[in-house]
Symmetry: C2
């Protein structure tokens, strides 16, 4: 059995190694048009920033070692030009000498990845304009910064790669401006969560232009970036990180069925429309297990797991890939931003009714030094099915997103989160972990113990019909208050109920939502019509300040 694999990095190389383990006698050939196989794509920004100092560390395994250890032949600088699905051959060009040849296969695996999108505007081909996908891309950026002593950069796109590049350039002393078409960075998370990232970028002196797009780049002083708003930003360099496009020209030309955004269509065995051709990674369309819809999720985790499944299928096992949920994480300076599942916008687009709660919880027991807050949002169905979670914080974010990701995979409900028995000692968590607490709160909402409103309702509320009640202590009010709110500290509430009008709905808030909830319970059981501000004044002020 001869397997040819196109693409020799996250998906391709992992397919090859697993296939070797499953089948010692198989013939396995990797075709990689780039200079390197098996490099750590995800580490590229960190070498630019000097965090990963040795470039060699990014080269996870060499073709020689792949040969010795796995008896796999990896041909770098070999580009697959076309596939003949009838003859089961691939036409290949050796880029080092231009020679073309034909390689036959019994099974073919496509893991060609994706290419950075280059917006079709003037100036994107100027020197000093870059994308980042490969080792040579990284080397070019690195050399440019060093040689030109660049002090200013414009990063186009505030997705996770854009943010990583921004942080790393900034760490290297380059003043970064991020341009983002949407009104927020990090599309996977909701606006009020992204607002915390905006504040943090500002704190780290990264300039941020939201709701603005790239119009043109001119070779002037040395570069001028003109935005759709008309604003002009002078810079030494521009990094385009506006997303990636699946690399599927080969598949298309071979007549394989394509789906969403030109991705390759695969079944749950990761077979394309040609049963002898498999495809994985950034190039494919895959089912989202929560929405049931096909999506493209260009991340390394799914690619490397699909690789293992494809190898098993080729080796004669019967393995299915169940789908993705979209778990992601990114470091943005001192913050960690993570999410799993669907966000508000996706749920709204799908027409799925949902509820959400936001807490600001501590990563571990507050009395143990070093506790830091996390904003934690949970989205769920009216029946309690967990749709998604988003977290922004300094420590402990990666843990909670993984717990929720596991819970989603298991089909757990918010009620299950209430019961999770997570590891507790003061340096690591709380007797009720943030995951339990968010489960409590979601459960409270679903059981009807608590109604909440979101930050974006506050300024829309009719003050004739609603009264804001701030239950924080007087010394906390200096941080800011909602205009016109009545202040009765929680500890005095039961004695001062008569100060609250029964004729209006009471919108309670405190700093993070907890005392607001406690107050809500008191008021509700005293006959008031009452709602609590989700995430408290903290979330509201992230968005409004």
């Amino acid at each position: 059995m001869k397997t040819v694999i196109i693409g020799g990095v996250a998906g391709g190389a992992s397919t090859a190694t697993r296939l070797r383990r499953m089948d010692e006698k198989a013939e396995i050939i990797i075709l990689e048009r780039g200079d390197f196989i098996s490099f750590a794509n995800c580490g590229l920004p960190y070498h630019i920033g000097g965090v990963i100092q040795e470039r060699e560390k990014l080269l996870v395994i060499s073709p020689e070692k792949l040969k010795n250890t796995f008896n796999i032949e990896a041909r770098v600088k070999h580009e697959a030009l076309s596939i003949d699905t009838k003859k089961k051959t691939v036409n290949v060009r050796d880029l080092s000498n231009g020679r073309e040849y034909t390689e036959s296969y019994d099974k073919l695996v496509l893991s060609p990845g994706a290419t950075p999108i280059i917006p079709p505007i003037p100036g994107v081909d100027l020197p000093g304009v870059f994308t980042l996908r490969s080792i040579p891309d990284m080397d070019r950026i690195n050399d440019f910064v060093t040689e030109k002593q660049a002090t200013r950069a414009v990063v186009i796109g505030g997705g996770f790669i854009g943010l990583e590049i921004a942080e790393n350039l900034q760490d290297r002393g380059v003043q970064v401006t991020i341009i983002e078409m949407l009104d927020q960075v990090m599309a996977p998370i909701d606006y009020e969560m992204a607002a915390m990232v905006h504040q943090h970028l500002d704190f780290k002196h990264v300039r941020l232009a939201l709701s603005d797009g790239l119009k043109a780049i001119d070779a002037d002083s040395p570069l001028n970036v003109t935005l759709q708003s008309g604003r002009v930003v002078g810079t030494d360099m521009v990094i385009l990180s506006v997303g990636v496009r699946p690399e599927t020209s080969l598949a298309k030309d071979a007549g394989l069925e394509l789906g969403l955004r030109g991705t390759i269509v695969v079944n749950d065995h990761l077979q394309t429309s040609d049963k002898d051709i498999y495809a994985i990674g950034d190039a494919v369309q895959i089912k989202n297990i929560i929405s049931g819809k096909e999506v493209n999720l260009p991340l390394a985790g799914p690619a490397s797991k699909q690789a293992r499944i494809v190898a098993d299928n080729i080796a004669g096992r019967d393995m299915a890939f169940k789908g993705v949920q979209g778990t992601s994480i990114v470091k943005v300076f001192d913050l960690t931003v993570a999410s799993t599942g669907l966000n508000s916008k996706q749920l709204a687009d799908l027409g799925l009714p949902f509820k959400d709660v936001i807490i600001h919880a501590s990563n571990h027991a507050g009395y143990y030094p070093g506790a830091s807050p996390m904003a934690f949002k949970l989205l769920f169905s009216p029946e309690g099915k967990i749709y998604g979670a988003q977290l922004v914080g300094v420590e402990g974010v990666d843990k909670r997103v993984d717990v929720i990701a596991t819970a989603i995979r298991a089909g757990m409900t918010v009620y299950d989160l209430e019961e999770l028995e997570l590891a507790y000692a003061p340096p690591y968590g709380s007797a009720r972990d943030a995951v339990n607490i968010i489960g409590f709160l979601a459960g409270n909402v679903l059981r009807g113990d608590l109604e909440t409103i979101d930050w974006n309702m506050v300024d829309k509320m009719d003050r004739e019909k609603n009264v804001f009640l701030d239950v924080r202590d007087p010394e906390e009010l200096a941080i800011g208050m909602i205009d016109g709110a009545l202040n009765i500290p929680l500890g005095e509430l039961r004695q001062r109920l008569n100060e609250i009008p029964h004729s209006k709905r009471v919108v309670v808030y405190c700093q993070v939502g907890q005392r607001g909830y406690f107050a809500t319970r008191i008021l509700k059981q005293n006959g008031f019509d009452v709602v609590n501000l989700n995430g408290g004044f903290k979330t509201y002020s992230h968005v409004t300040c």
Copy 2:
């Protein structure tokens, strides 16, 4: 409705606050015989070590604040002396003045906790001999260390409280010796995992006497601790931390049904044998969801979750507590030690057939700075049901134990771990997280792709029938080797198969197990009878060096 709660800390206070939220009109009285309600038991060792500097931080909420915020009456220094289940009254003594009185109840909640076990040996009542459970206990230890300028301490018992105390005293400049009756510290984890803790304690200059017990303490220079082995250790102070005994004399005298080790028997609504009396926390017997057996799990997480359920039941809701799985974690100097579910000994005692795998994985991508290794053991049924996990490492241990704890709760299998979509970016994990990898390995074992043997078989193996094959590179052998092993580096294996006797079983090993597995696949498919050493030379050397 009048509810009286006996015990005002983790379980008791949490019952009271939740009950108030569920029922604004309820009468709620807490009886606490100690000086404080709601203190952070789990923080006590860290105040001794100066890690938590302010003592007030340990006092989570005061009776006054409980009154103002929750309208709950907490009476400290009030001891419940007896319960009259017929009359539904509690006989109480006000310890501040000796006055006794009777308090009636509609519902009674017992959350009396547990008391440190004092071994019945001579000298345990000497000055300088302590236990640690309450704020006054902590104050006494603190004052003693300061006043006597103690420089030596003996800690009896190497459970999690003993280890926390050891670390904190040592940090404070006190030379600690731990005496442990078993052959290992941290009973919840298996021996080869505990062996890493032993090495680390040694590295931190804590002295450790295993398989030895306390025989007597004598008032001499200032104290002499005599061990069962005959060894005598001179010390300034002794801390007894040999476990806790459920505090159930009240329940017993009231005729409530008692179970395992004198714990209070409760149903899944946490009702005792008297339907108007509930019990929770350290004092009760509770079902282990994995074994189905009744256990006593004296930890704060379960206590505080049971509290919420009892409050709901009293408030007229129908809530069940499903049971515990035994998730725990402890910081031991630079290490984190965590486990969830059942360990080898428990599984053997239950007669449940099981398999286990051990990996040494990185907490995050190896190419990103600061990666550190974790030893990670997974125990599972022949069908793939996850029975338990144990981890020892520097970073990222708490995350993995929580993911596995969630997976166990959800009834997931090792095959589900292979598929988990966990958050990956280089600072946080790997494209295949350690949890995926351990799932792969367990899946490989169950699918018959790999057979393993454990470290404890190595020295028992008949060398006539088994040959050890070390597939590490020559430069790694200086760390140590298994006696008589043949060395063929993995990269040369396919060329040198003829050097390996076909007549014997081949026991392959490498440093951590991964290359051993790769070699196993090569050999197996070349017709060899082959097994891989679980956890590699690393686990073996933890135990033998």
